[in-house]
């Protein structure tokens, strides 16, 4: 079996996600075919039974996430994979998993939307939908890999975070990363650290409930529950994968990006350096909860913040909300199905620096 013989593999993002799941001892996958995430289901159907696990193809995405939650409650590490339209269908049950505190991992391979959009083209326009797609005040974790290695590392981390925080975790990739084939170093058995769960009696409900799992409509119970569900994640951001920093420590321009756009930004930092410009990149690995503190700190010290993303400014809006003065923040956005190129980012950097 290829994924375990050699430490260094040549994998697509989708494949890296599956191997991370298998190495993290995920033994249940329920899914529904959807481009550009389908290979994950295909590979799980092939590999999971060989590892003593289970693959089930459900009747829709609502059923897929429901089966994942059921299997997780039954004691299996469980995951599913989908794209935007499928995520839309899963939202109610993602909220259920947050409310009932069921660990589960959802790999969302973003495609061009809204609606059916263009099934094979990339986008990064599901940032808000992953955070606020399910109704009600809640918190959950969204990780954003920017390549094959990150797909492996962050998916592996996602399973541990799901168990540790007892929450749904979304791994947010996109159509390019999913199919981009790269060198990936997989973990050996002794490098694997797994958070294990205690097995307990099941008394599970999506209703507001007391600590015994019985439903309640007492204001204090409701208030405490919702506060605890949010704070158990938001109060422990240090345990989540932090942003990665590239470039000089005191730059004039700071690029903030994630996913495939961060790859272009990394190259743009290199190109800028060759031009003698002080430009750095903050690549967000955790999108939600949003890494406010790092951004506030770094944003205060630079003249300009450029936010590069394949949408109309979803992360940019959050960056502004961190308290960075609005005139400092500019977006590099593309919404035409093509990706942002390093040259386009460099051009924007040059424009900004000339104006500064």
């Amino acid at each position: 079996m290829a994924g375990e013989k050699n430490k260094v593999q040549f994998l697509s993002g989708n494949e890296a996600c599956v191997w991370a799941g298998i190495h993290a001892k995920a033994r249940f996958f329920a899914g529904y075919p959807i481009s550009p995430a389908t290979e994950i289901a295909e590979m799980c159907a092939h590999e999971l039974p060989r590892h003593g696990g289970f693959y089930i193809q459900m009747e829709d995405e609502i059923g897929s996430i429901a089966a994942v939650i059921g299997a997780s409650l039954g004691g299996l590490r469980a995951f599913t994979a989908t794209s935007g339209p499928g995520l839309a269908l899963m939202q109610e049950n993602i909220g259920f998993a947050a409310m009932a505190e069921v660990p589960c991992v959802i790999i969302e391979v973003q495609r061009f939307g809204p609606s059916t959009g263009i099934a094979t083209k990339p986008a990064q326009s599901d940032v808000m939908t992953t955070r606020w797609g399910t109704p009600g005040d809640h918190s959950l974790i969204v990780l954003a890999p920017s390549g094959g290695q990150a797909c492996y590392d962050l998916t592996f981390a996602a399973f541990n975070l799901a168990e540790f925080f007892r929450t749904p975790v979304i791994v947010l990739t996109d159509a390019v990363i999913a199919h981009l084939r790269e060198k990936v170093t997989v973990k050996s058995e002794e490098e694997l650290f797994l958070v294990n769960r205690d097995k307990r009696l099941l008394r599970v409900t999506g209703l507001v409930h007391d600590s015994f799992g019985y439903s309640s409509d007492v204001p204090e119970v409701a208030g405490e529950l919702i506060t605890r569900l949010a704070q158990k994640i938001e109060g422990h951001q240090a345990l989540l994968p932090g942003p990665r920093f590239y470039g000089p420590e005191s730059p004039e321009v700071l690029i903030i990006s994630f996913g495939i756009s961060a790859r272009a930004a990394r190259q743009a930092v290199f190109l800028a350096e060759q031009e003698g410009l002080a430009v750095s990149l903050l690549e967000l690995q955790t999108l939600w909860p949003f890494p406010e503190e790092e951004i506030r700190k770094m944003g205060a010290e630079v003249k300009t913040v450029l936010v590069a993303e394949l949408n109309r400014g979803q992360v940019q809006r959050e960056v502004r909300a961190c308290g960075i003065s609005p005139e400092k923040v500019r977006g590099i956005n593309k919404i035409d199905t093509t990706v942002i190129t390093p040259r386009e980012i460099l051009n924007e950097i040059l424009t900004v620096i000339i104006n500064n």
């Binding site: 249940f28 329920a30 289970f54 089930i56 459900m58 009747e59 829709d60 609502i62 059923g63 429901a66 089966a67 994942v68 939650i69 059921g70 299997a71 997780s72 409650l73 039954g74 004691g75 299996l76 469980a78 109610e92 049950n93 259920f96 009696l201 099941l202 008394r203 599970v204 409900t205 999506g206 209703l207 799992g213 019985y214 439903s215």
Partner: protein, 252 residues
């Protein structure tokens, strides 16, 4: 007859329940708990799965493991749960809206996969929790809060649907026939694979009141008079069948 000790399965401290006076849900829950006591299940080996709606609050009144999912999705959750814990004995207690409207797809596929679960459908002929709207199982011409001039759509026979989807055991009765109800629940639970029991149950607060059937006792006798054994039902002509529910075992 010795009544088995069903109270150990009941979360007595959670009573009184939220159901209206004259509701049949308590009869259904008691019938289920009696069967569990007869079969002497240990609390750790059983789980009650419910959805959303009046009957789905039953999970709050049992002392053993319970799972309450989202509206309509109970069987999809249970599909994953049973794969992870095949030895766990799972009973689903869901309503007519849950199983025949929003969750019908999952019901069909659970039956097609022959998921090892006993599905008890509490059919009170309307959505009680939201105030008495018609469901797919509400009879044609019935008055409900969303069909003030009578329901214009045809109703659905969920038992026949379960049959063609591949269910191993399908039966229908009413809470009026308590002995029969317990017998069918016992048979459904004892059967391996997918089994379904549709239980006609009174909702005097909405269905009974809107359709001028009367209070709790009139509703119970209404179910007595409106149900005929399957054999007799099949001998009726199509027009006459419209006025009755069949009861009995369709698949065993």
């Amino acid at each position: 007859m010795v009544i088995p000790d069903y109270k150990k399965y009941l979360a007595v401290e959670r009573l009184p329940h939220i159901w209206c006076a004259g509701c049949g849900n308590g009869i259904i829950l008691k019938a289920l708990l009696l069967v569990l006591a007869e079969l002497n299940f240990r609390p750790g080996e059983i789980l009650l799965a419910t959805g959303i709606g009046c009957i789905s609050r039953a999970g709050d009144y049992v002392s053993f493991q319970r799972f309450q999912g989202t509206h309509g999705r109970t069987l999809a959750f249970v599909t994953g749960l049973k794969i992870a814990r095949p030895a766990l004995k799972v009973f689903c207690l869901i309503g007519d809206g849950d199983c025949a409207a929003i969750g019908m797809g999952h019901l069909i596929h659970a039956a097609r996969r022959n998921l090892d679960v006993a599905v008890l459908v509490a059919n009170n002929l309307n959505y009680g929790m939201t105030g008495g709207q018609f469901s797919p199982l509400t009879p044609n011409k019935s008055l409900t809060s969303t069909s003030r001039a009578g329901k214009i759509e045809a109703s659905l026979d969920i038992c026949r649907l379960a049959e063609v989807a591949g269910a191993n055991y399908v039966a229908r009765t009413s809470v009026f026939y308590h002995g029969e109800l317990r017998k069918y629940i016992r048979e459904a639970i004892s059967k391996t694979g997918f089994s379904l029991v549709e239980i006609l149950t009174p909702c005097p607060t909405y269905y009974g009141r809107y359709n001028k059937i009367g209070g709790p006792d009139e509703m119970l006798t209404w179910f007595r008079d409106k149900t005929v054994p399957l054999k007799k039902y099949l001998q009726m002509d199509k027009q006459e069948q419209k006025d009755f529910f069949w009861r009995g075992k369709l698949v065993e």
